[in-house]
């Protein structure tokens, strides 16, 4: 077999593999208890996003995708953890989430249902717009998005909620790099900027919550109600 073909096939399989591992990290965000482990899972997810961007950029010969990968590495793998650790510091290292709204095995089953749902939605869409190697990115990106939303509702601690929102953006971009190979840089830059501001703002807000309310278990804040 000509080398070019096998290497392309290998890259296709690698891109599919990265997609599978991305999905696994999205599950991991629901299942990890320690806050620091949550952050590491997010970094791992961003790493897979960057890898996918690099592979797809090489396959589609798109410089903007390679730039997307580079920006992801810089912002999500380096800057965001640094920013969170700087703003929250000791809080982050000590925190351990005692309970979620639903217990973890149930959450994992619901997460599976969400993946099945996004698969069915994406299959209908992909049927009308054929694509090659990156057909997996749309359903897995959508699943990552919805799993992040689910993780956010189910978590009680503040920092895992922030990380869940950041992972939603990861999922949106994971789908985006496959369906829009020549995404203008402005989209990725605004996404990266947005993610940085979210981290900064919400990190400071978590510190305020901790100061004034005394705990970072924000899921338990229910003083504002209609009773």
């Amino acid at each position: 077999m000509p080398d070019m073909w096998t290497s392309n096939l290998l890259l296709h399989e690698l891109s599919a593999l990265v997609a599978g591992l991305f999905l696994l990290t999205a599950f991991g965000l629901i299942a990890t208890r320690q806050v620091l482990a949550c952050l590491r899972t997010f970094v791992l997810q961003s790493l897979f996003l960057a890898l996918s961007a690099f592979v797809l950029g090489y396959l589609n010969a798109s410089a903007s995708l390679l730039a997307v990968g580079a920006i992801t590495v810089v912002v999500k793998i380096v800057l965001i953890p640094w920013l969170l650790l700087k703003t929250l510091g000791d809080e982050l290292r000590a925190r351990r989430e005692i309970s979620q709204v639903l217990n973890i095995p149930t959450s994992l089953l619901i997460a599976l249902a969400i993946v099945v749902f996004s698969y069915f939605v994406s299959v209908r869409i992909l049927a009308v717009a054929p694509k090659g190697a990156s057909a997996m990115n749309l359903p897995i990106g959508m699943a990552g998005l919805l799993l992040g939303a689910y993780a956010m509702t189910v978590r009680r601690e503040a920092v895992p909620q922030i990380i869940a929102i950041l992972s939603m953006e990861n999922g949106a971009f994971f789908a985006g790099i496959a369906i829009a190979p020549h995404l203008p840089l402005i989209a990725e830059l605004s996404g990266a900027f947005d993610v940085l501001i979210i981290t900064r703002v919400m990190g400071v807000l978590v510190m305020k919550v901790h100061e004034r309310v005394g705990t970072t278990a924000v899921g338990d804040l229910v003083t504002l109600r209609e009773e």
Binding site: T6, E13, L24
Partner: protein, 316 residues
């Protein structure tokens, strides 16, 4: 045909002979990583030899199950060893008896009898350990099923010999997401089924914390030797399935010649050794999970296996 029967017998002898060695190497490496000296790698052989020469004491309150179990636990891995690729990459004489699902059921049969026997003895720690093993088992069985299902869905067959070929030709198939995720799920399963950390502590002596070990507490003499040896062989067989079917289906004998087959023996031992190294690193870096978190661990394995099926479906 006679050759094939002979090769099958050699396969079984290899499994019987080298499984205590695998156990011994595992124990020694674990101790070494903790900067201790560790027992000799042949220690399990000495233990089995010693136990065969001791008297057997059987409780009056136990039934035939207790007497039969050591034999069942000893024989079931041998059965499975007849079916799976240990030394050769083509099916041997008895391989028609069952495919992977059948092999899984036969292994489960051994575990089932061991659990029953533990309850049979009226020793307080027996049923406690038995119920915990069942909890781990009932959560692990669906994962087994889904793993087998994924593997057969991908490769198109449930016979291990056919499945193993799928992953290596072409080499790109090795990196299929279904493959990698199934490997991850299966490693977690092996940890659960062989009672390693983080599910259970195989070298612990504290009966209240035992999950798997407490099933073997009541046996003595020949029974204990058979149970111990059977446990080693179960571990060996599981490793074989993992390595030869999923991970590294290379180095197996392609031809009929007895020399080739004998050459495959050190190769399989080498593969086992590398896997043991990885397993020891995993074991030494994690702490034992609290009992209520074992479902989470197995839930993660389940999710990985289902994600493997999902990604396979999505690729179409």
């Amino acid at each position: 045909m006679g050759n094939k029967i002979l090769l099958n017998v050699i396969q079984v002898i290899v499994v019987m002979a080298f499984s205590p060695l695998v156990k011994g190497v595992l124990n020694r490496l674990k101790e070494r990583i903790q900067s201790k000296r560790g027992p000799s790698i042949f220690q399990p052989y000495y233990d089995i030899w010693k136990l065969f020469h001791k008297d057997e004491i059987v409780s009056d309150y136990s039934s035939w199950i207790f007497r039969v179990t050591p034999y069942v636990v000893f024989v079931t891995p041998i059965f499975v060893a007849l079916l799976i690729p240990v030394l050769t990459s083509y099916p041997l004489f008895f391989a028609f008896m069952a495919d992977m699902l059948g092999g899984g059921f036969i292994l489960a049969l051994g575990g089932f009898f061991a659990t029953l026997a533990a309850i049979d003895t009226a020793n307080p720690y027996g049923p406690m350990g038995a119920s915990r093993t069942r909890m781990v088992g009932f959560l692990a069985e669906p994962v087994f099923m889904i793993v087998f299902f994924t593997v057969s869905f991908v490769a198109g067959s449930t016979i291990p010999y056919i499945v193993q070929k799928h992953w290596v030709t072409p080499i790109a198939n090795f990196f299929e997401p279904a493959h990698v995720l199934v490997m991850i799920a299966f490693v977690m399963l092996i940890i659960a089924e062989t009672g390693s950390i983080p599910v259970d502590s195989p070298s612990g002596h504290f009966e209240l914390a035992m999950v798997d070990e407490s099933k073997g507490l009541e046996y003595s003499g020949r029974g204990a030797a058979l149970v111990k040896w059977g446990g080693c062989m179960k571990v060996f067989v599981l490793f074989c399935i993992f390595l030869n079917v999923l991970v590294s289906p290379w180095g197996l004998a392609q031809g009929d010649h007895i020399g080739e087959v004998l050459l495959a023996v050190p190769l399989i031992l080498l593969k086992m050794f590398i896997f043991i190294l990885i397993l020891v690193i995993i074991e030494s870096s994690l702490a034992k999970l609290r009992l209520f978190r074992i479902p989470e661990f197995l839930g993660a394995a389940f999710v990985a296996a289902v994600a493997a099926v999902m990604t396979r479906l999505l690729e179409f």
